[in-house]
């Protein structure tokens, strides 16, 4: 067992830390305040090969492994969880299923778009009446000649109003429940595709979340991803991988909050000494640090297993559950150390705390993660 990162992974961490410090940190507060999609930084991340990094070279990517992608998301999320989310969604929920389940033609057409083509990707599963229970989806795709006609809507779609390529799940046979779900690659330019309401959220303001609507949307037959009726399994498999991204994002938020609190408490003097010197502060830090380390091990383990092509469903769920709950705990406690200042927008703590909350909810709530973990325990 080797707990050291490879030399490439170490360089990737360094590169992303520098990028985050110089490009992400300076605009993170503004991105949140104005609910602004950090377009310039996403363009730069395309230039640097971070967007779609796990796509093999022949399709325009760099052939990086899932651990490399997790490290990037973690570093970005230390300063801006929205940026981390956009990358996690693009890499884990759009590029990954197309790479894993796509035909050669689909890969040749879409993966270069999602890498060198600077087109952003998204994933559309959730519906108003089908959250954790995806089998109740209402979106339908009916085959008519050489194309499907899609009708319905999807909500809470990350990258919803900026993405060009969507992996969409729709019923091709309602009578079969989850076995009647199929996956499709849908371009925002397809006739009948439209973006609905932009969500106003508690946090993650820089991440563009929207409803997307299909009104007799024409999807070419060859855009079905995987076999007919295999959509649910593709979705679950994709979410297993996506959870590594959310685990990395939550880990980054927790580490970011911990770093901010360390800096602050060393400089903040009360009762004649820096508050970092009080044992209550120190014990709190010890718990934060330990939780981050545990989360890092879980996350890197899940990512490594995925890279090895081994089943990692339980490990990804554990990483996501642990890191998201730890992010919530850490941001709450870190904010407390800032006292009244932490509650203001002068410091990033309240933003980090708001951003942390979503990680306990999306890509499977904490409750769903517990279902997944226990379902894999042979009970």
């Amino acid at each position: 067992m080797d707990f050291n990162l490879s030399r490439e992974h170490q360089l990737i961490r360094k590169m992303m830390a520098e990028f985050t410090e110089n490009e992400v940190k300076p605009i993170a507060a503004e991105t949140d305040l104005n609910s602004e999609y950090p377009r310039e930084n996403i363009e730069k991340l395309f230039d640097l090969g971070v967007m779609g990094m796990c796509v093999p070279k022949e399709y325009g990517g760099t052939g990086a492994d899932p651990l490399a992608s997790a490290i990037c998301i973690e570093e970005l999320s230390k300063q801006c969880a929205s940026t981390g989310d956009i990358v996690a969604t693009h890499n884990g929920l759009c590029c990954d299923p197309i790479l894993t389940h796509g035909t050669e033609e689909q890969k040749k057409k879409y993966l270069p778009m999602l890498t060198t083509g600077h087109k952003v990707g998204a994933f559309a599963l959730t519906e108003p009446n089908a959250g954790s229970d995806a089998s109740k989806g209402q979106t339908e795709a009916k085959l008519e000649g050489d194309h499907y006609v899609m009708n319905g809507s999807k909500i809470f779609i990350t990258n919803g109003y900026v993405a060009d390529v969507f992996v969409v799940f729709a019923m091709t046979d309602k009578s079969k429940g989850t076995k009647g779900i199929s996956a499709f690659i849908v371009e925002s330019s397809f006739p009948g595709f439209s973006v609905g309401k932009h969500e106003v959220k508690m946090g993650l303001h820089g991440s563009p979340t929207a409803e997307i609507v299909f009104t007799d949307c024409i999807v070419p037959k060859e855009n079905m991803l995987g076999k007919e009726g295999k959509g649910f399994s593709i979705a679950m498999q994709t979410l297993d991988g996506g959870r590594i991204g959310i685990a990395a994002q939550a880990l980054g938020i927790a580490e970011g909050a911990l770093n901010e609190a360390k800096e602050y408490t060393k400089g903040r003097v009360q009762f004649g000494k820096p508050i970092s010197k009080f044992q209550n502060t120190q014990f709190t830090f010890a718990d934060m640090e330990m939780g981050c380390e545990a989360g890092r091990l879980l996350t890197y383990q899940a990512a490594t297993l995925k890279g090895q092509g081994v089943r990692y469903t339980k490990e990804a769920a554990m990483a996501k559950l642990w890191c998201s709950e730890h992010a919530m705990k850490t941001t709450t406690k870190a904010l407390q150390m800032f006292g009244g200042y932490g509650y203001t927008k002068d410091y990033p703590m309240e933003r980090m705390m708001r951003d942390a909350k979503i990680t306990e909810i999306y890509e499977g709530t904490s409750e769903v993660q517990r279902i997944v973990i226990s379902a894999n325990m042979g009970l």
Partner: protein, 369 residues
């Protein structure tokens, strides 16, 4: 020329100063270096000579150098020397040095001096110390200097009081360490000297009149020059932003009783220091200064050489942006203001009274240098 051997140190004599001119005008650094060179020449008991290169007629400016202490000025005139050019200047200087063999050669650490000096030192095969802020020959003087400027236990060390090497002291590692460099085996011992550091002697007309001008022979042809200067542009110093500024004068809530007046006083002080004006969050939120002036947690993090805080109490958010400044000067009416805890120098008083006095005092101190 073939006889030149930089290791034959007994063959070298006199202290020389390279006198830089731009557009036919001597640089302030020349007078500073001539003044310092005078001390060194006295300690060595040798002549102090200026070396002046320029276009036809530059000789006319040479005598002025005598007024600050030069016994002699070597003048090299050529149309090819009117504008600085590395190749031409290095060729002439090295030829003259090889012929006349000075033992020490000082050059101002300007952008030109720092281009020229290493080229010459490499050609002459001798040592060069960059950007010196202190120079000594006499060991006793050097020991006295260490007493004031170092934490060394000078009395616990053995000293060779007869040592005649030029001791060249300079900051390293961003000023966190100081090093004294010597060049014991080669001559001339060369140093570039930081502009503005050495004290200028008072001008003495009689000495200027007595200064000897010599024109050593040199050869210079087009073939010696591999670069071509196509234009020289004088530019007004471009507006520096807070992050790159060496001097920042910031104002806080303390200017509230006369906002415009307070900012004007800060601007005058900043102008005198060659710096820019910043502000605490209160001044930005109140609309007194635009947001790009803000120093602190929600503004910019700065580390200038000098940070002057006028009427700023020093809340933690403000300190986060400026506490790594090399030198912090605080002026505040309230003697318990937290800004004084991190200030190197504090004045408890009204900024409207203190600031103009400080501006004037700094102007006077700079003029006296």
């Amino acid at each position: 020329m073939s006889t030149f051997n930089s290791a034959d140190i007994a063959a070298f004599k006199d202290v020389w100063v390279f006198c830089e001119q731009r557009e036919g005008k001597l640089m302030p650094t020349d007078f500073e270096l001539i003044s310092k060179g005078r001390d060194l020449a006295n300690e060595l008991g040798v002549n102090l000579c200026g070396l002046l290169l320029g276009g036809e007629g530059i000789e006319a400016t040479a005598k002025e150098l005598g007024g600050y202490g030069a016994d002699k000025v070597y003048v090299c005139e050529s149309p090819m020397l009117s504008v600085y050019n590395t190749d031409a200047y290095a060729k002439v200087i090295c030829d003259v040095i090889e012929e006349l063999k000075p033992e020490a050669f000082l050059i101002g650490a300007t952008n030109i001096g720092r281009d020229l000096a290493p080229r010459c030192a490499a050609r002459l095969h001798t040592g060069l110390c960059a950007d010196c802020t202190h120079l000594d020959i006499d060991v006793a003087n050097y020991i006295q200097f260490l007493r004031e400027a170092s934490t060394l236990d000078v009395d616990g060390q053995k000293w060779d009081m007869e040592d005649r090497n030029l001791k060249m002291t300079r900051p390293a590692f961003g000023g966190h360490l100081m090093a004294t460099i010597i060049c014991p085996r080669f001559r001339p011992c060369m140093a570039t000297v930081r502009p503005g550091v050495m004290k200028k002697n008072p001008f003495d007309q009689a000495k200027a009149d007595a200064c000897v001008i010599e024109k050593p022979a040199f050869t210079l042809s087009e073939a010696d020059v591999q670069t071509e200067v196509t234009e020289v542009v004088k530019a007004a110093k471009k507006l520096v932003d807070l992050i790159g500024a060496d001097f920042i004068v910031s104002v806080g809530r303390g200017i509230s009783k006369d906002v415009e007046g307070g900012i004007k006083l800060a601007e005058e002080l900043a102008a005198e220091l060659g710096g820019v004006v910043g502000g605490s969050r209160a001044t930005i939120d109140s609309g007194w200064l635009s947001a790009d002036h803000q120093v602190g947690q929600t503004g910019k993090t700065v580390h200038p050489k000098v940070y002057v805080a006028l009427g700023i109490s020093g809340a933690i958010q403000h300190k986060a942006g400026m506490q790594d400044s090399e030198c912090i000067i605080a002026v505040n009416k309230n003697d318990t203001a937290p800004i004084f805890e991190i200030a190197d120098y504090g004045i408890c008083g009204d900024l409207f009274k203190v600031t103009p006095l400080l501006t004037e005092a700094i102007r006077a101190a700079k003029a006296a240098k």
